[in-house]
Symmetry: D2
Subunit: 156 residues, 4 copies
């Protein structure tokens, strides 16, 4: 693994997600893996699982930063599953470990990650998420989101 | 201090705040102190300082959960100033220590706290903040916000 | 409360403690309160409770940094009880919030706090604790421990 | 990567280490990698670097849980480098992410990790470390340490 690999966090709801959002998440994971990025998620279900699956199937490396203290709560597509026991405080840890964040879909937990990323200067791209003030950059679909995130990373 | 005291977090921007927002924050702090609540903030300037000042002048107890590792970065109206060295991750800690959150004004850091509170079931009241989907309850001013927060706490 | 108050953490086992150790802990708490220090503990039973009681009876301010997510797990002698939900990771937080540490008695959890304090340059005084290499300063009893801690704080 | 891989943390001083300790650390890393374990360290120099190098050369996966907020502070043998910005608080996080800990050499930071591991029920094996009360199991060299750690993991 190159030390210059980019770490991209993909955040989104763990449940109550439409098939469309899940498909978009899987595609984001796949494209990030193909681009050589390490894909970081909260490690659970929903968008987190779909993204990890998409990245994993494409041969990518996936990291799950789990809220609980038990590794087994991680989904089955994680290369590295890290229990933190920090609960939702792990959202802040996840943001800190990433060079950029792509948000797919919206939820309050997701919003906390997006807000922390903007607050701490981590570039954020949003697909199918909430309408928010200037800060996160919107993208129409997975392909545009990954392209935009990679462009932002190149500019850093 | 009664063990049954309620801990109310007041969150809001640390800079670029209008005088109106600062006045509202100070009034929130004052009213919470009069109600016997312990007032928890991020301990720095802007809304955090105004709230702590308002509470302190009214004889209240104020706690500051500081992002840095140095106690002196706390404002001068804190009864208890706790350096955490956790950076913005302390936003999640602040939310966890509180029974309810009142948000005065809006910023990305503030939004992360509001979102985490909603996510983890902590009641949130917002004054002069951002428009957000269902979750945080809006209040027109400090007085209404404190009254609403106290009502929510009574119902728990 | 003066902003110049010193925060002294008192660490020690939460259970399986002798009466002698508990008495020493209560005396440490009492003497710290009299000296105007804010007394910080892990907020639970055993040495933590005895220390908080000693400080509280003497009119001192006591802070409990709790491992769990529920305020009620704190003992009844805490002025401020802060649930963190961080589990034993809160040991590191406790050390960071303190200007000096007094260790009364020994346990593995306590040792983690002592080691982190030495590692991060926080002065440590030990009463009735484990034999450790150079680092923590031993004291024969509560009175000597508090005196030594205050001297170390004056020298900072 | 199998989901059943064991995560073994290797802790030890980041500086002021003898060549013998570094050689032992590298051998621990190598043997863990051969055994299919994921090797977790604090990601910096000294024992952390030697262990990561040993594991990496043997084709293993290495994770670094960094204290700072910058990925580049990690050594060059990390498959995954995770900046936490938590300072020494990351020691507690490291312990939580591991199924067992092997300690090579001694320092105060290392001791905090060993103590937290014993406190939270994570098996600990020590090579060339400090003399401590019952808790961590001593091993004469890298080979014995890894064998003992794997046996303890099998028994869980």
């Amino acid at each position: 693994m190159s030390r210059t690999a980019q770490y991209v966090g993909v955040v989104g709801p763990g449940s109550d997600v439409t098939e469309e959002v899940l498909a978009e998440a899987a595609e984001v994971g796949r494209l990030l893996a193909i681009a050589g990025c390490i894909v970081v998620t909260g490690g659970l279900g929903g968008v987190m699982e779909a993204t990890s699956r998409g990245a994993s199937v494409a041969g990518g490396v996936t990291v799950g930063i789990l809220p609980g203290a038990v590794r087994d709560e991680g989904n089955e597509h994680l290369t590295i599953a890290l229990p933190t026991g920090m609960g939702e405080m792990r959202n802040a840890l996840l943001v800190r470990t990433c060079d950029a964040i792509i948000c797919v879909g919206g939820s309050w937990g997701t919003l906390s990650e997006v807000a922390l990323a903007v607050r701490t200067g981590v570039p954020v791209v949003m697909v199918r998420g909430w309408d928010l003030p200037e800060g996160p950059l919107p993208a129409p679909d997975a392909s545009a989101a990954v392209e935009l995130a990679l462009t932002l990373l190149d500019q850093r």
